[in-house]
Amino acid sequence: MIKFGVVMFPGSNCDHDCFYAVQQFFSDQVDFIWHKSTDVHGYDCIVLPGGFSYGDYLRTGAIARFSPVMSEVKKFASAGKPVIGICNGFQILLESGLLPGAMLRNTSLRFICKYVHIKPVNFSTPFSKGLKKNEAIHIPVAHGEGNYYIDDEGLKKLQKNNQIVFQYCNERGIVSDDFNPNGSVANIAGICNEAGNVLGMMPHPERCCDPMLGSSDGKRIFESLLQSLNQRQTV
Protein backbone atom coordinates (compact mmCIF):
# COMPACT_ATOMS: atom_id res chain seq x y z
CA MET A 1 0.00 0.00 0.00
CA ILE A 2 1.29 3.44 -0.97
CA LYS A 3 1.62 5.71 2.04
CA PHE A 4 0.92 9.42 1.74
CA GLY A 5 1.88 12.21 4.12
CA VAL A 6 0.04 15.54 3.98
CA VAL A 7 1.99 18.34 5.63
CA MET A 8 0.03 20.80 7.77
CA PHE A 9 1.48 24.26 8.13
CA PRO A 10 -0.22 26.90 10.27
CA GLY A 11 -2.62 28.40 7.73
CA SER A 12 -2.85 25.42 5.40
CA ASN A 13 -6.49 24.98 4.44
CA CYS A 14 -6.51 22.32 1.72
CA ASP A 15 -4.86 19.73 3.96
CA HIS A 16 -8.16 18.06 4.75
CA ASP A 17 -9.21 18.09 1.09
CA CYS A 18 -5.97 16.33 0.15
CA PHE A 19 -6.38 13.85 2.98
CA TYR A 20 -9.98 13.16 1.95
CA ALA A 21 -9.18 12.71 -1.73
CA VAL A 22 -6.28 10.34 -1.02
CA GLN A 23 -8.16 8.30 1.56
CA GLN A 24 -11.38 8.15 -0.39
CA PHE A 25 -9.92 7.18 -3.73
CA PHE A 26 -6.29 6.11 -3.58
CA SER A 27 -4.90 4.77 -0.32
CA ASP A 28 -5.91 3.86 3.24
CA GLN A 29 -2.46 4.90 4.29
CA VAL A 30 -2.48 8.64 4.72
CA ASP A 31 -1.32 10.76 7.64
CA PHE A 32 -1.14 14.40 8.46
CA ILE A 33 2.42 15.55 9.18
CA TRP A 34 2.62 18.57 11.47
CA HIS A 35 5.10 21.12 10.16
CA LYS A 36 7.23 20.85 13.29
CA SER A 37 7.78 17.15 12.73
CA THR A 38 11.17 16.04 11.49
CA ASP A 39 10.14 12.48 10.76
CA VAL A 40 8.93 11.67 7.27
CA HIS A 41 10.16 8.10 7.41
CA GLY A 42 7.96 5.47 5.79
CA TYR A 43 6.10 7.72 3.37
CA ASP A 44 6.02 7.09 -0.36
CA CYS A 45 4.73 10.51 -1.31
CA ILE A 46 4.58 13.86 0.47
CA VAL A 47 1.87 16.39 -0.32
CA LEU A 48 2.33 20.09 0.44
CA PRO A 49 -1.26 21.33 0.39
CA GLY A 50 -2.78 24.65 -0.52
CA GLY A 51 -3.84 27.44 1.77
CA PHE A 52 -2.20 30.44 3.32
CA SER A 53 0.72 29.15 5.33
CA TYR A 54 1.78 31.78 7.87
CA GLY A 55 -0.94 34.03 6.51
CA ASP A 56 1.07 34.58 3.32
CA TYR A 57 3.06 37.06 5.40
CA LEU A 58 6.19 38.50 3.77
CA ARG A 59 5.70 36.47 0.57
CA THR A 60 3.62 33.39 -0.16
CA GLY A 61 5.47 30.34 1.14
CA ALA A 62 8.44 32.40 2.33
CA ILE A 63 8.15 31.50 6.00
CA ALA A 64 6.83 27.94 5.63
CA ARG A 65 10.02 27.00 3.88
CA PHE A 66 11.81 27.38 7.22
CA SER A 67 9.43 25.02 9.04
CA PRO A 68 11.37 22.09 10.55
CA VAL A 69 9.65 19.58 8.28
CA MET A 70 11.01 21.26 5.15
CA SER A 71 14.60 20.14 5.66
CA GLU A 72 13.25 16.58 5.81
CA VAL A 73 11.13 17.19 2.71
CA LYS A 74 14.30 18.34 0.94
CA LYS A 75 16.10 15.13 1.87
CA PHE A 76 13.04 13.10 0.84
CA ALA A 77 13.05 14.87 -2.52
CA SER A 78 16.75 14.47 -3.09
CA ALA A 79 16.32 10.72 -2.51
CA GLY A 80 14.12 10.76 -5.62
CA LYS A 81 10.81 10.25 -3.81
CA PRO A 82 7.75 12.09 -5.10
CA VAL A 83 6.70 15.40 -3.61
CA ILE A 84 3.68 17.31 -4.90
CA GLY A 85 3.06 20.92 -3.93
CA ILE A 86 -0.39 22.22 -4.76
CA CYS A 87 -1.11 25.96 -4.88
CA ASN A 88 0.47 27.30 -1.68
CA GLY A 89 2.46 24.06 -1.65
CA PHE A 90 3.86 25.06 -5.06
CA GLN A 91 4.71 28.50 -3.68
CA ILE A 92 6.56 26.85 -0.77
CA LEU A 93 8.52 24.64 -3.19
CA LEU A 94 9.56 27.77 -5.12
CA GLU A 95 10.63 29.65 -2.00
CA SER A 96 12.55 26.64 -0.70
CA GLY A 97 14.48 26.37 -3.95
CA LEU A 98 13.21 22.86 -4.71
CA LEU A 99 11.72 24.35 -7.86
CA PRO A 100 12.97 27.36 -9.85
CA GLY A 101 11.12 30.66 -10.32
CA ALA A 102 8.75 32.72 -8.18
CA MET A 103 5.10 33.77 -7.93
CA LEU A 104 3.72 37.23 -8.61
CA ARG A 105 0.24 38.61 -8.14
CA ASN A 106 -2.24 37.65 -10.84
CA THR A 107 -2.28 40.11 -13.74
CA SER A 108 -6.08 39.94 -13.69
CA LEU A 109 -6.17 42.02 -10.48
CA ARG A 110 -8.24 39.51 -8.62
CA PHE A 111 -8.27 36.33 -6.66
CA ILE A 112 -9.23 33.72 -9.21
CA CYS A 113 -11.45 30.87 -8.09
CA LYS A 114 -12.80 28.90 -11.04
CA TYR A 115 -12.43 25.83 -13.21
CA VAL A 116 -9.79 26.00 -15.94
CA HIS A 117 -8.23 23.50 -18.34
CA ILE A 118 -4.62 22.38 -18.25
CA LYS A 119 -2.67 20.35 -20.75
CA PRO A 120 0.03 17.89 -19.76
CA VAL A 121 3.19 18.49 -21.79
CA ASN A 122 5.65 16.25 -19.98
CA PHE A 123 4.92 12.55 -19.67
CA SER A 124 8.05 11.45 -17.87
CA THR A 125 7.19 12.43 -14.28
CA PRO A 126 5.45 9.93 -12.00
CA PHE A 127 2.52 12.38 -11.78
CA SER A 128 2.01 12.68 -15.52
CA LYS A 129 3.23 9.39 -16.96
CA GLY A 130 -0.31 8.04 -17.20
CA LEU A 131 -1.77 11.15 -18.86
CA LYS A 132 -2.49 11.45 -22.55
CA LYS A 133 -1.13 13.85 -25.11
CA ASN A 134 -3.64 16.53 -26.06
CA GLU A 135 -5.95 15.80 -23.17
CA ALA A 136 -7.36 18.85 -21.41
CA ILE A 137 -7.76 18.31 -17.69
CA HIS A 138 -10.72 20.16 -16.19
CA ILE A 139 -9.52 21.41 -12.83
CA PRO A 140 -10.14 24.30 -10.40
CA VAL A 141 -7.70 27.06 -9.50
CA ALA A 142 -8.01 29.31 -6.44
CA HIS A 143 -5.24 31.82 -5.97
CA GLY A 144 -4.28 35.49 -5.79
CA GLU A 145 -0.62 34.91 -6.59
CA GLY A 146 -0.38 32.25 -9.25
CA ASN A 147 1.38 34.34 -11.84
CA TYR A 148 4.45 32.19 -12.37
CA TYR A 149 7.60 34.15 -13.15
CA ILE A 150 10.99 33.04 -14.32
CA ASP A 151 13.49 35.05 -16.36
CA ASP A 152 14.19 34.24 -20.02
CA GLU A 153 17.28 32.25 -19.23
CA GLY A 154 15.42 30.22 -16.60
CA LEU A 155 12.56 29.57 -19.00
CA LYS A 156 14.96 28.27 -21.63
CA LYS A 157 16.42 25.94 -19.05
CA LEU A 158 12.97 24.69 -18.06
CA GLN A 159 12.14 24.03 -21.70
CA LYS A 160 15.47 22.37 -22.42
CA ASN A 161 15.15 20.04 -19.42
CA ASN A 162 11.49 19.32 -20.15
CA GLN A 163 10.43 20.67 -16.74
CA ILE A 164 7.13 22.23 -17.79
CA VAL A 165 4.47 19.69 -16.83
CA PHE A 166 1.16 21.54 -17.24
CA GLN A 167 0.09 24.57 -19.27
CA TYR A 168 -3.19 26.47 -19.14
CA CYS A 169 -5.25 25.77 -22.26
CA ASN A 170 -8.84 25.65 -23.49
CA GLU A 171 -11.15 22.65 -23.47
CA ARG A 172 -9.60 21.42 -26.70
CA GLY A 173 -6.07 21.57 -25.33
CA ILE A 174 -5.05 24.70 -27.21
CA VAL A 175 -2.47 26.70 -25.28
CA SER A 176 -2.67 30.46 -25.83
CA ASP A 177 -2.67 33.76 -23.95
CA ASP A 178 -6.46 33.79 -24.15
CA PHE A 179 -6.60 30.87 -21.74
CA ASN A 180 -3.97 32.09 -19.32
CA PRO A 181 -5.88 33.00 -16.14
CA ASN A 182 -3.12 34.71 -14.17
CA GLY A 183 -0.37 35.95 -16.48
CA SER A 184 2.03 33.05 -15.93
CA VAL A 185 5.10 32.92 -18.17
CA ALA A 186 4.49 30.45 -21.03
CA ASN A 187 1.04 29.58 -19.60
CA ILE A 188 2.78 27.54 -16.93
CA ALA A 189 0.41 25.82 -14.50
CA GLY A 190 2.88 23.27 -13.17
CA ILE A 191 6.58 22.46 -13.30
CA CYS A 192 8.88 19.76 -11.97
CA ASN A 193 12.49 19.65 -10.85
CA GLU A 194 15.19 18.31 -13.17
CA ALA A 195 14.81 14.79 -11.79
CA GLY A 196 11.03 14.94 -12.27
CA ASN A 197 10.08 13.73 -8.78
CA VAL A 198 9.06 17.13 -7.39
CA LEU A 199 5.94 18.66 -8.94
CA GLY A 200 4.49 22.07 -8.18
CA MET A 201 1.13 23.08 -9.64
CA MET A 202 -1.30 25.92 -9.00
CA PRO A 203 -4.53 24.03 -9.91
CA HIS A 204 -6.05 21.72 -7.30
CA PRO A 205 -6.26 18.06 -8.37
CA GLU A 206 -7.54 17.09 -4.90
CA ARG A 207 -10.62 19.27 -5.44
CA CYS A 208 -11.68 17.36 -8.52
CA CYS A 209 -11.38 13.72 -7.54
CA ASP A 210 -14.87 13.26 -6.17
CA PRO A 211 -17.29 13.45 -9.15
CA MET A 212 -19.78 15.09 -6.80
CA LEU A 213 -17.62 18.21 -7.04
CA GLY A 214 -18.05 18.65 -10.78
CA SER A 215 -15.04 16.91 -12.26
CA SER A 216 -12.97 13.86 -11.44
CA ASP A 217 -10.12 14.74 -13.76
CA GLY A 218 -7.81 15.32 -10.80
CA LYS A 219 -7.88 11.59 -10.17
CA ARG A 220 -5.86 11.07 -13.32
CA ILE A 221 -2.83 12.76 -11.76
CA PHE A 222 -3.02 10.69 -8.56
CA GLU A 223 -3.66 7.51 -10.54
CA SER A 224 -0.59 8.17 -12.63
CA LEU A 225 1.42 8.63 -9.44
CA LEU A 226 0.05 5.42 -7.88
CA GLN A 227 0.79 3.48 -11.01
CA SER A 228 4.39 4.71 -11.06
CA LEU A 229 4.87 3.99 -7.36
CA ASN A 230 3.35 0.52 -7.63
CA GLN A 231 5.62 -0.29 -10.54
CA ARG A 232 8.59 0.91 -8.53
CA GLN A 233 7.56 -1.25 -5.56
CA THR A 234 7.19 -4.41 -7.64
CA VAL A 235 10.53 -3.91 -9.40
Binding site: L58, R59, A62, I63, F66, L94, E95, P100, G101, A102, L104, R105, N106, T107, L109, N147, Y149, I150, D151, G183
Partner: protein, 88 residues
Protein backbone atom coordinates in the same frame (compact mmCIF):
# COMPACT_ATOMS: atom_id res chain seq x y z
CA UNK B 1 25.30 48.74 20.29
CA UNK B 2 21.81 49.09 18.94
CA UNK B 3 21.19 49.90 15.32
CA UNK B 4 18.12 50.61 13.30
CA UNK B 5 18.08 49.15 9.81
CA UNK B 6 15.57 50.32 7.24
CA UNK B 7 15.06 48.13 4.20
CA UNK B 8 13.21 48.91 1.00
CA UNK B 9 12.26 45.92 -1.14
CA UNK B 10 11.01 46.42 -4.68
CA UNK B 11 10.32 44.20 -7.64
CA UNK B 12 13.21 44.11 -10.12
CA UNK B 13 12.71 46.58 -12.98
CA UNK B 14 12.41 43.64 -15.39
CA UNK B 15 9.48 42.15 -13.45
CA UNK B 16 5.95 43.29 -14.24
CA UNK B 17 4.15 44.71 -11.20
CA UNK B 18 0.39 44.19 -11.61
CA UNK B 19 -0.33 46.08 -8.39
CA UNK B 20 1.72 49.09 -9.46
CA UNK B 21 0.13 49.07 -12.92
CA UNK B 22 -3.34 49.13 -11.35
CA UNK B 23 -2.47 52.01 -9.05
CA UNK B 24 -0.99 53.93 -12.02
CA UNK B 25 -4.25 53.45 -13.92
CA UNK B 26 -6.28 54.61 -10.92
CA UNK B 27 -4.19 57.77 -10.72
CA UNK B 28 -4.77 58.40 -14.43
CA UNK B 29 -8.52 58.02 -13.90
CA UNK B 30 -8.25 60.64 -11.15
CA UNK B 31 -6.72 63.02 -13.67
CA UNK B 32 -3.08 62.74 -12.67
CA UNK B 33 -1.98 62.11 -16.21
CA UNK B 34 1.54 63.32 -15.59
CA UNK B 35 2.36 60.43 -13.20
CA UNK B 36 3.46 57.03 -14.37
CA UNK B 37 5.36 53.88 -13.49
CA UNK B 38 4.12 53.28 -9.95
CA UNK B 39 6.10 50.42 -8.43
CA UNK B 40 4.85 48.85 -5.22
CA UNK B 41 7.30 47.57 -2.65
CA UNK B 42 7.84 46.87 1.01
CA UNK B 43 9.37 48.94 3.77
CA UNK B 44 10.84 47.17 6.77
CA UNK B 45 12.48 48.36 9.97
CA UNK B 46 14.70 46.03 11.92
CA UNK B 47 16.53 46.63 15.22
CA UNK B 48 19.91 44.97 15.39
CA UNK B 49 22.30 44.60 18.29
CA UNK B 50 25.87 44.32 17.08
CA UNK B 51 29.42 45.19 18.06
CA UNK B 52 29.83 47.66 15.21
CA UNK B 53 27.90 49.31 12.44
CA UNK B 54 29.76 47.17 9.95
CA UNK B 55 28.78 43.96 11.72
CA UNK B 56 25.15 45.10 11.86
CA UNK B 57 25.20 45.93 8.19
CA UNK B 58 26.68 42.59 7.29
CA UNK B 59 23.99 40.80 9.25
CA UNK B 60 21.26 42.95 7.71
CA UNK B 61 22.40 41.94 4.23
CA UNK B 62 22.47 38.32 5.33
CA UNK B 63 18.85 38.31 6.57
CA UNK B 64 17.75 40.13 3.43
CA UNK B 65 19.28 37.45 1.25
CA UNK B 66 18.05 34.56 3.37
CA UNK B 67 14.50 35.63 4.12
CA UNK B 68 13.35 39.19 3.57
CA UNK B 69 14.01 39.34 -0.17
CA UNK B 70 13.37 36.85 -2.95
CA UNK B 71 16.25 37.48 -5.37
CA UNK B 72 14.34 35.85 -8.23
CA UNK B 73 11.92 38.76 -8.43
CA UNK B 74 13.01 41.38 -5.92
CA UNK B 75 15.84 43.75 -5.19
CA UNK B 76 16.52 45.80 -2.05
CA UNK B 77 18.44 48.66 -0.55
CA UNK B 78 19.08 49.36 3.08
CA UNK B 79 20.29 52.10 5.37
CA UNK B 80 21.63 51.71 8.86
CA UNK B 81 21.87 54.14 11.75
CA UNK B 82 22.69 53.93 15.44
CA UNK B 83 19.32 53.47 17.20
CA UNK B 84 19.65 56.71 19.20
CA UNK B 85 20.22 58.75 16.07
CA UNK B 86 17.34 57.02 14.30
CA UNK B 87 14.94 57.88 17.15
CA UNK B 88 15.58 61.62 16.87
Amino acid sequence: MDFKVTIVVTLKPSVLDPQGTTVTEALHHMGYNNVSDVRMGKFMEVSVQASSEKAAEQQAHEICKKLLVNPVIETYRLTIKPAQEAAV
